[in-house]
Amino acid sequence: MPQLALHGVVKTYGQTRALDGAGLELRGGEIHALMGENGAGKSTLIRILAGLEMPDAGQITFNGAPVALTSPAAAEGLGLRFLHQELQIVPALSVAENMHLAHPYPTFGLGIVRWDALRAASLAALTRLGVTHIDPKTRMADLGPGDQMLTRIAATMIDTQGSLPWAYVLDEPTAALTGAEAERLFAALHTLRAAGQAILYVSHRMDEVLALSDRVTVLRDGRLVSTLMRDQVSRDQIIQDMTGRDFATLYPPASGEEGGAPLLEVRGVQAGILHDMDFTLKAGEVLGIAGLSGSGRNHLLRALMGAVPRQGQVLVKGQGIGQSPAAAWAAGLAYVPRERRAEGLMLHQPLADTVALPHIPALSTAGFVRRSWITRLVARLAQAVRLKAQSQAQVAAELSGGNQQKVLFARALAGPPVVLLLDEPTRGVDVGAKFDIYATIRGLTAQGVGVVMVSSDLPELIGLSDRIGILQGGRLTQILPAEGLTEGALLALCYEKEVV
Amino acid sequence: GEKIAVITPYLSQPGTQFYVEAFEARAKELGWEVNVIDTQGDVAAVISRIEDVVAQGVNGIVINVDPSQIGAGLDAAAAANIPVVGMDAGADARIKANVTSNGYEMAAVTSVYIANRIGGAGGVVMFTFDAFPPVQVRGVIADAVFKNYPDIKVLDRITPDVSDGGIADSRAKMEALLAANPEPGSIKAVWAAWDQPALGALQAIEAAGRQNEGIVITGIDANPQARDAIAAGGNFEASVAQDFTGIGSTAADTMARVLGGEVLKANVIYVPTQLVTSVNAK
């Protein structure tokens, strides 16, 4: 069995020490989970394996012999295939061309591309993953996020003349997948393992990791903490290793009882694929929204914010609100968007600017902003969400994913809000930061804030919500209490119509 | 020796080059140190550069833009008592003298040449450029001359794109006009306010195979490329030679007289021009 090992890897960026003695050992025929909090160095380690970054120190050996991974070609030559963390696609090119981004195109010679062979190779790889509904000629931009991810995963399984892959390195492959799509991926991974291939796998979804992996390696602050067999390790142990702290229970208990006055009333709202939206949110209540990919969850929050055109009425505390994000923020709606980098942050500006932006009217007099007010507000909020940043002037791009998310939470809290709209609030966020975020949400509901939360993380949805609305093809089919629901039951409800 | 600054926005134009060179040659004999500054079309920058050389403390300044556009610079020079001489510039109380050719005269010579050659009748294409005052006056005279012949019809008055010197765009424009007037004899003459459009028109006529229709082309300036074409005996028949060398050296001599303390009476000094045809082109 081939074996790849890294020892004592060190990597610094400017003043950040991303890796500080990290290590890993990967064998054929295993599914190996790589775990760690946000910023623990997982992706950095993977980029080093991929030949995209050079380590400052450390050794890499393949079957016992030292190797130098100085370029992506060198990594490919060793039979390593990568799926990097960010959803990296070229929207303007076809599925087939996207799948061959990391691999040589088949040619007639002289670099002239053989399009038929290109498509055939892509189709074969898709089929290997059990995906048959994607045509390699389609433009990548025309696929949904789930299909895009499947395509990228399939791309790691392409046959090339050069070297056969033996190891697949997948950095958060399921972050954008629904349950069913993830299942398909897991089945494919099992097949690969059975064929003696190795899989290195990064995920923040604890249940997934526990169900799938043979071994678990945990990094903390760039250091190797432990590598253990699945059957020697418990969930609590992994969390303990990752965070150095102990979370008896991840979901803080609901504090107050719901049943206050109605805060948000949605009456016959239509927008895009959404139809006949009717629901009421009461003070202190968390309404979870469950649904399959493309069911319109994202669209629902955007419609409430007035970011997409809508018909029908949206009332906050009994008052109708105008159709623009400005009107929504002014009425006390606060929004934490799904894509924090694309939709939330001013990545290269001081984080205080991002936090203050929607609240500028309240932070200014006679058209001029009051710097001191902003400073005071941001200082208070940063503390409230336990933000780890050097200063208010630090740019958001320099923060880890979890802390970036906390910046957006801080912004949502500034109002203070009447209703909080959350879209996948903990996507790609580590356990520690997740706990902080859950505590923040609970703290708000205790003060009577209402929350509408979209999440694909079903345990989270069940753990935090008071009621859960099921969205199917743009319709809210039912709203039921979260108490006592299981993941399986919830998933079944989301699929209901298709099953029938 | 004396430090003299020559400041022009138009150095890349062939005429300007010649008189600047002649100026430099004469200046060398006089033992001057000459700094030639090209502002590449920017007139305000001419003012700025005048201010700079005034700060530097030159002994004299030579300009070739219209003085009314650079009043602030001339004031700065006057305040520092630095004499300014115009080289193909324009008249102004603040410059000691302007050395130039008579633009009205040159345009009259070529337009009358055309009128005579075509017997006072037929279609004429004009290439003009009104944005540049010395060239604009040429168009005014040609308009007047052609208007005086009732049977001469001005087919088009074209302003070519001069960012490339004017040949290529004039050629494209002429090609289009030739295509629009396919009948032999429908275009009798091309009058160009300077040589580049005349050369472009010539290329267009030859490329269209219409060089034997007797289309008469005239230019102004008689630059070497134009002289070659005229000497070849084709459609390009005449141009007017400005005595660039004479302008340059006269400007230097004028500056020398000013620096010598002489007070000049006439503030325009005309250097004679000459009609160039195949007889005297070489």
């Binding site: 400017g14 970011a307 002014a330 500006q349 600017d353 929607p358 902003v369 | 920017d42 700060a55 944005a131």
Partner: protein, 323 residues
Amino acid sequence: MVRFLRHYGTLMGMVAIVLVFWALLPDTFMTARNWLNITQQVSMLTVAAVAMTVVMVVGDFDLSVGSMASLSGIVAAVLFTLGWPVPLAVGAALVVGLAGGLVNGVLVSVIGILPFVATLATLTMYSGAAFILSGGKTIFGRDIPQSFADFAKSGLPLGSLGDKPVILPWLTVLALAITGVVFVVLELSTYGRRLYAIGGNAEAARLAGVRVTWLRLTAYGFTGVGAAVAGLMYASRVASANPTQGEGLMLNAIAAVFLGMTVTRHGQPRVVASVLGVLVLGIMDNGLTQLQVDSYVREVLVGLIILLAVSISALGRRATGRR
């Protein structure tokens, strides 16, 4: 060290340039008179660059500032020839600038054309309009009222140095005033903070309640008015108007803003930095002319200086981590 170079590289480069000129031109460079000259010479470019900064803050460009400057000069001059009084004609030229800017804004912000393309097309159109209005001629001489031409020739008396009076030119005063106004608008007002947010991430700004389409449109309006002011200053300085005279402003204004961006903390466009950029260009022009460096060599040197400043800043940004 690297970080230091990145933030202060360009600034130190500027100081070095000034010191070199001072050493080589001991008597004439470091004089009040020369510096007043420089400020006056760069005043039009300052206004154009400051105006350009506004659209660059929202992450856009405006290639049409140069032809808008030409057009505004021509509009005023043509109205002068029709006998309009100076304030009215100048006002009309500013209105044209505003209108032209808003047209750019509509094309980019409402219709959604790339700024480069939209303003490239309007560049052609505004320049064509300037040619049509003027009949392609330069308008000068008696057509330009004395009071209009005098503006650029006079200034605020500051006292006297030796025997000569020292005068702060009105052009300089105007450039400073406009810089001040734009500084206040961009850095201190809520409007300006929103523009910066749009430049940082337009979609995020929209979701945060910023009226992106409208604000982006108005930013072009600012730039259009600024371009018109620069064009009028130019026309006053040369006491004439020519349909091509603003052409040089556009590339220089953009160069100045970019040069300025190399000194700012996060590489953002900022008013004061843009003015620094303008000064670098102006000082180079002034000093190299006084040193009698050939005009063409000067051009190459200016290109090199820009590249050097920008390279240091780019490399520095790289070395300190992400960009």
